[in-house]
């Protein structure tokens, strides 16, 4: 096991800057999830940690030892590649056993480990097949198996569940989490899937364009996004964002936008005339047929567009001041499209961002 530290890391391909001055510290035994839009440099970062990609500038340290010049084979990491990178001419069994065979591990131990991994991954019936005889999801599980039979210092996972069906994905998520809780191996996990990130991570790292926008525990990221990008990136359906300008009336401040007056939390760090983004998560945007008492007569009224019942909750999409707004409620209210709907933001959970810097206020 090892801690991983990255300091001022840069990566350029020719003139394309992919990673620009990235710092990251992963303590020993932690489960860190890298989350970010496609092309933001997640795979590149992971490959640099693995030693597969040259480092333009900066350092990668394992247990505070600089490993920039240590060959990938000597870093003792296990990795699941985004493109699987299976050995096409080897059976599933041999794919999984390869690392152990190289180490001249005892045959019996190899067999046991392969059996253990294949039962976790549901690959028991495919052990003697070649990768080309498997479906995409099965191949991905083989890639996973190849990693988990190892006993590495660091696990690197690059979207290891992206090709599995919903049920299998949930199942594998649990297995990985369980594995981590038992082995406590430092893990860096890349995903597009927010649920995966939220459910598995000790720490979530949000990346954009080769830099880290915010890192913290899943709940921290969700409850206190540092900036507009993180606020919009995390959460599904996404946070409602309304652009408005701060106005004052009888000493009370409002966010004014197109005939709307949005109440601001008391003690908000804003001044009259400032342009802000007003953010409320759908579950904090209560909806009702009546104007809420707390609104002080300033009704936030819109028109229902679409209603999506998901089972446990109902997502109501509405037009508000020309913008699409979503509200989630657990009550069984039936809405008709076009019906008038009143919103009531939970002031304890309103996020304000500066109109220029887009940073949280």
């Amino acid at each position: 096991m090892a801690s991983v530290k990255i300091t001022d890391l840069h990566k350029t391909y020719g003139t394309t800057k992919v990673i620009e001055g990235l710092d990251l510290a992963v303590d020993d035994g932690r489960f860190v999830v890298l989350l970010g839009p496609s092309g933001c440099g997640k795979s590149t970062l992971l490959r640099m940690i693995a030693g597969l990609e040259s480092i333009t500038a900066g350092d990668v340290l394992f247990d505070d030892k600089r490993v920039n010049d240590v060959h990938a084979k000597d870093r003792n990491i296990a990795m699941v590649f985004q493109n699987y990178a299976l050995y096409a001419h080897m059976s599933v069994r041999k794919n999984m056993a390869f690392s152990m065979r190289l180490k001249k591990t005892d045959k019996k131990i190899i067999d046991e480990k392969v059996k253990w991994a294949s039962s976790i991954l549901g690959l028991d019936d495919y052990l003697d097949r070649l990768p080309k005889e498997l479906s995409g999801g099965q191949r991905q599980r083989v890639a996973m198996g190849r990693a988990i039979v190892r006993d590495p210092d660091v696990f690197l996972f690059d979207e290891p569940l992206s090709n599995l069906d919903a049920k299998l994905r949930v199942q594998m998520r649990t297995e990985i989490k369980d594995l981590h809780q038992r082995l406590k191996t430092t893990t860096i996990y890349v995903t597009h899937d927010q649920i995966e990130a939220m459910t598995m991570a000790d720490e979530v790292v949000i990346m954009r364009d080769g830099v880290i926008e915010q890192s913290g525990s899943p709940m921290e990221i969700y409850d206190r996004p540092n900036n507009l990008f993180v606020a919009q990136f995390i959460g599904s359906p996404g946070m409602n964002i309304i652009e408005c300008r701060v106005t004052g009336e009888n000493g009370t401040l409002y966010g004014a936008a197109e005939g709307l007056q949005l109440p601001l939390p008391s003690g908000a760090n804003v001044s009259v005339g400032q342009n802000i983004y007003y953010g409320v998560r759908p579950e904090h945007f209560r909806s009702s047929r009546q104007v809420a008492a707390s609104a002080g007569g300033k009704a936030i009224a819109g028109a229902v567009r679409v209603v999506e019942p998901t089972g446990p909750e109902i997502h109501v999409y509405a037009k508000l001041a020309g913008q699409d707004i979503c509200s989630i409620s657990r009550e069984r209210v039936i809405w008709d499209p076009g019906e008038e709907i009143f919103f009531d933001p939970d002031l304890d959970h309103v996020h304000l961002f500066d109109g220029v810097s887009k940073k949280a206020l």
Binding site: A50, G51, L52, H71, A72, K73, D74, N76, I77, A78, M79, F81, N83, Y84, A85, L86, Y87, A88, H89, F98, S99, L102, K103, R146, R150
Partner: protein, 297 residues
């Protein structure tokens, strides 16, 4: 469009493969099939050298072939020659290809330069090595004298035990680049990902080569062995130019023997039988090889 050609028979219109195959098929028939069949026909005659008359006696030449020690010697020389040369060219070809398989600066030029020996006509290569082996002024001979590996009393091509090696070296000089080309094409087409995975799995360069490169290249290696192997069985020019089958018959290959029978003894029917025997040996070896290694074209 269609109606303008409608009067043509269907097999002559472009949708049918026959017209497109016609040119190459006719070439093959005229220059391949006909000579072979004619040789076969010829081999059924017994030639009387004194009267220069030929008599139809189908088994005569074939019996003679089986009883001819020189044929069996030649088979042995050919097999020795082909297998040693093939091994050397394959090993060197793969090794050089591995060295040249790089995107770094200058390697493209080196890959191109590698092919130069291939443009030299084999007979010229033979003559070039003949000069380099010359026991008084040849650069190779003199270098070996200096290293005490050779004595002037036993010239390379004039000594039974070394003459075949001398020819093999010339062949290898010329044809290793061909192997390099094939191997490079294969190596360059290998995917990068499995090698990355292997280094993550802790494989050394040698282990990657053994467990990944070789198995992934096996089809290409088999194909290269087949092409070069067939070619090596037909070895004629180097032997003809460099040793003329000598000393004695130390370097007499099957084709060289056939040539001798043809052009020196003018026993055309028997020479045909020897030449056909070469063809049969090649065909049998090649098909066994194709079966075993499942070569696909």
């Amino acid at each position: 469009m269609k109606s303008s050609r409608a009067w043509l028979p269907r097999w002559l219109t472009s949708e049918h493969p026959f017209p497109w195959l016609l040119p190459v098929t006719s070439l093959l028939i005229v220059f391949g099939l006909y000579p072979v069949l004619y040789s076969l026909w010829l081999s059924f005659f017994k030639r009387n050298p004194a009267t220069r008359k030929e008599k139809f006696l189908p088994s005569w030449n074939w019996n003679k072939l089986i009883e001819d020690d020189r044929v069996w010697d030649a088979v042995q020389v050919t097999l020795t020659y082909a297998s040693i040369a093939l091994f050397l060219q394959l090993a060197l070809g793969l090794a050089i290809a591995l060295l040249l398989d790089s995107d770094r600066k200058g390697f493209g030029v080196m890959r191109a330069l590698m092919t130069l020996p291939l443009v030299v006509p084999p007979a010229v290569t033979g003559m070039m090595f003949l000069l380099m082996y010359d026991s008084s002024f040849g650069v190779i001979s003199n270098s070996l004298y200096a290293l005490n590996l050779l004595s002037p009393s036993a010239p390379i091509l004039g000594t039974g035990s070394t003459a075949l090696w001398g020819v093999i070296v010339a062949d290898t000089w010329q044809w290793t680049p061909f192997m390099v080309l094939i191997m490079l094409a294969g190596l360059r087409a290998l995917p990068r990902e499995p090698f990355e995975a292997a280094s993550i799995d802790g494989a050394t360069a040698l282990q990657s080569f053994w467990h990944l490169t070789l198995p992934m290249m096996s089809k290409i290696i088999a194909l290269a062995v087949l092409i070069r192997g067939i070619d090596l069985f037909r070895i004629y020019d180097y032997v003809k130019v460099m040793t003329d089958s000598g000393p004695g018959t130390a370097t007499e290959t099957l084709t060289a023997y056939a040539g001798t029978v043809y052009f020196k003894s003018a026993n055309f029917p028997y020479a045909s039988a020897v030449a056909l025997a070469t063809l049969i040996v090649v065909l049998v070896t090649a098909s066994v090889f194709i079966k075993i290694f499942k070569v696909r074209f």
